[in-house]
Subunit: 501 residues, 2 copies
Amino acid sequence: MELTIEKRIGISSLLDKVTSAEKAASMIQDGNVVGMSGFTRAGDAKVVPLALAERAKNEKLKIDVYTGASLGPEVDQILAEAGGIRKRGPYQGDPALRNLINKGEVLYVDAHLSHNAELVRQGIIGPIDFAIIEATAITKDGLLVPTTSVGNSPIFATYAKNIIIELNLAHSETLIGVHDIYIPEKQGEREAIPLSKPTDRIGEIGIKIDPEKVKAIVISNEQDAPSLIVPPDEETQTMANHLLDFFRSEIKAGRLTNKLAPIQSGVGSVANAVLEGFKDSEFEDLIVFSEVLQDAVFNLIDAGKVSFASCTSITISEELQKKVYGNIENYADKIVIRPQEVSNHPEVIRRLGLIAINAALEVDIYGNVNSTHVSGTKMMNGIGGSGDFTRNSRTSIFVTKSYAKGGKLSSIVPMVAHHDHTEHDVQVIVTEQGVADLRGLAPKERVPLIIENCAHPDFKQQLWDYYNEAVALTGNAQTPHNLEKALSWHVQAAKTGSMKF
Amino acid sequence: MELTIEKRIGISSLLDKVTSAEKAASMIQDGNVVGMSGFTRAGDAKVVPLALAERAKNEKLKIDVYTGASLGPEVDQILAEAGGIRKRGPYQGDPALRNLINKGEVLYVDAHLSHNAELVRQGIIGPIDFAIIEATAITKDGLLVPTTSVGNSPIFATYAKNIIIELNLAHSETLIGVHDIYIPEKQGEREAIPLSKPTDRIGEIGIKIDPEKVKAIVISNEQDAPSLIVPPDEETQTMANHLLDFFRSEIKAGRLTNKLAPIQSGVGSVANAVLEGFKDSEFEDLIVFSEVLQDAVFNLIDAGKVSFASCTSITISEELQKKVYGNIENYADKIVIRPQEVSNHPEVIRRLGLIAINAALEVDIYGNVNSTHVSGTKMMNGIGGSGDFTRNSRTSIFVTKSYAKGGKLSSIVPMVAHHDHTEHDVQVIVTEQGVADLRGLAPKERVPLIIENCAHPDFKQQLWDYYNEAVALTGNAQTPHNLEKALSWHVQAAKTGSMKF
C-alpha cells in the first residue's frame, strides 16, 4: 500500500501531508465554509466527514457545506444528524438531512447547479475555508484527478484557502484520463467554452492545484454509496413507451433522426426507467450529455445503443459498480466526466441542442412544474440541474406518474404549490396516461392536452370543473384561475390525505 | 423620391417588386403565419399592417403574428381591434391587444425572447408564410438592412416562404452599418457565438435574403411610435439611489469597479428612471448590453457616462427620435443593434457577466417574482427578455415600487399569484423602501430582508403575521406557507380593492 500511495502522489513534497482522518478533520473550525467533492452520492469525501461528525457530537462544530450535489450518508446523514451542518447547498437527497431542513435545523440553499461556480468566483459563497476532495491521484504536474464525479471540485479547489485530499485507493488508476477539467475565467474576462460536440475534450485530466494549499492527504478505500434506484415497473415502462412514441413523431416531423439528439436525463428511478426503454427500440448511436450517468446508460452502452456519454457524475448500483469500475478501461473511450459548470452550462446545453428529460413532483394545468416542495412547503430533494437543462434544451420534457399515494393525490393540479419551472420553460409532459406537447401553445390551449392526455381519469372531471369555473370567473382571461380554490386541492390533501372532493 | 428608392434597392431585379401596401397585403391569406419585424414599438412594419386591418374589417382574415417583441399601434391596436389576429407572440404591450387577450379573443404565447428563433428553426413556430420586415435599404450583396430594431427579423427572413419589405425612407441611410447580424446554425451543428466583448462585431450589416422570396416592396415614410415612458418621480429617484448604493457596496466588496459591468435594463419608466440615476453619479465608462435602449441610455451617452451600448432595439421618445435619428452618425460608433437571439442569448449573457435590472409586478417573501399577470390571471405585457437576463446575469436585480393603487395593494405579498422568475433566479430586490440582497440565502433567511427592507410600512406587520403563522403551521419547514391564506391577499383585493385586512 505504501508503494501505491507513493505512485499516486506525484509531488513528493506532498507525501508528508499524508495523515489520519482525525488529524485532517481537526483543522476545520466551527463556522467554516467547506466545499466538498461529490455529486449524487458519487466521488464524495467519506472518511474526513465521519471524523468531523465525531467532533460535532462532542463539541460545538457547525459548518456550511457546499458540494456538487447530493452526498452519501457520511455527510448528509451522519454529519447532519450529529448537528455538524449549519447551511447546505446546492442540492441534497437524504431523508435524514431533508428532515432536519424541514424542521428548520439546517438552512438549505436550493440552487441551479450551474450557478454555484459563479457565486464562488464572486465571493457570494465563501470565502471557502477548506475544500475536501476525493481523488484518484495527484499527477507530477500538480493535477488532482477526481474519482467518480467532478461537480464543483475544480472551483472549490481553486478558491479554497486550504485543501484536504481523500486519496481513494478503491478506484483503479485507470480512471486517470476519464475526466476533462475546464474552468472558465471570470465573467467578462472569458472566451467561449470551446465545446461544440459532446465528445470534445477541452481541458486537463485533473484539477490544477496549488500544492501549498494542500494541508492534509487522507487515504481511504471505499466505494461510493450505491445508487438507490428501483427497477422499472409497469407504469414507468408505459411512460417510456409514450416517450419513444413522442420521439417517433418528432422524426416524422423532420425534427430528429433515429439518432435523436444528445440526451440529458434527470436523476431517479423514473428517469432511469425511461432511458432503459431505449434498449429494445429502433433508436441507435445515441449520445448522452447529462449530469449523472445511472445504470441505464451503462446498460445502453453495453447494448451498443449509446456510443458516447458525457457527465459530471457516475451514480450506479452496487452490482454495476463492480462491473464498471472493475473494467473502466472498457468504457474509458466512451465516457467523459466534466465539471458541472460545463455539463450544466446554458451555453453548452443550447449549443448542443439537448433533449432534456426531468422528473416533476406535480404539474399544473398551464404547464408549471413543482420539482422540489411537497405541499409547497417541505423540501424533497432540490431543483438540481433541471432548470439549467429545461430552460436551454432543444426539447424540455417532464415525466411524472399522474397520481401519488395510491391514487389519493393527483400529480396534475390546478396550480402547483411551488414553482420551479414556469409555463415559459416546460414543453412536453409525459405521464403513464400519455403525452401533452405544449410547444408553441397559449395557456388555454395547453389545458385540454394536459387534462385529457396526462391526468389520471379519477381527476379529469375535477380539473375541468376547476378550469371552467375559472374561465367564467375571469372572463376567459389569459390564465384563468380561481385564486380562492387554486391551492385547495393541496389544502384538502393536508387535512384528509386526499385531493378528491 | 424615385432616385432615393433606386439608391436604396441595390438589386435592380427587385425594383419591379415596388408596389402599394394594399397590393402587398392582398397576398396574405386567412390563417397565415406571419413573422414581423419590430421590437418594443421600434422598427415595425407600419403600412402593410394598416392595409391588412382594412381587409380584416371586411372579410375573414385572421393571422398568427410573431415578432421580436411589442409593436406600435398599427398591428397591436388597429389590426388587433379589426379582428385580424388569431394568435400573437412572443410579447406585446398594447392596451387594446391586452384587452382582447384577456377576453379570450386573441391567443397569446408569452415566451422568453431568446427562445423564438429556436422554435422557428424547429418548425414549432411555422411554417412562416410571410415575413414583413421594415428596412432602411437592400444592399447590392442582397443584405436587408433593418431600421431601428433587429429582433427576430433575421430568423423570419431566413425561414419565411415569402418576404414583404417596407422600405422606410424616414430613416437616413447613415443607419447602414449600425446593425450586426449574426445567425447561429441549427442546434447541434453550431459553433460558439464569437462574441466576448460587448463592442465585438461578429456578423453582417444586414440580413442575407434570397431575392426570389421577396414578393413586394412597399415604400413608407413614418417614424416609430414614440416610447411612452413617463419622467422619473420622487420614488423612482429614491429607487435609483438605493441601486447606486448597492453598486457602491459591491465595489467595496471587491466585486465591481466604478465601471461596473455591462448593464441590461428592462423596458419601462422605472427601469429608465433607474438608469437616469447614473447621470450625476461617480460611475463612469459604463457599457450597456441590453435589449432596448431607452432615452436614458442616450442621455448617458451624451453625458459621457456610457461609452458603448449594444441592443436589439432603440425605443425613444419623440423628442429624442429627432435628435438621435437626425444625427445617427454621432452615435454610430457607440451603438450596435443585434438580433435578439444574440442580445438575449444565455451564452452571451453569462459570458459577459451582465448586471440585469428588470421590473417586477410583485414579489413574494421568498423572492419569487410575478412579471406578467395582474391578479395571477390577466396578462399585462409579458415576460419579454427578463428571464433570459435574470437567469444568466452576474447579478439579477428586480425593481418595483412597494405598493400600487395609492397604497391599497402591496407589491410584496405572501405568495405571488403568477410565477415568472422563481426563488432560484432572483438575487436582489429594490423598492423605494430599500434593498434586499438575497444572494446565497436560504428561503427563511430572505424573509426578514424582503419584509423589513422592501415592503411598505403599512404591510410589514401583516406580512410578519402571515409568515409567523406559516412557520408554526409547517413546523418551520423549508418554505413555510399557509396554503389556505397564501393567495388571500389577492382574493381580497379582487373583492374590495385592498390588500389590507
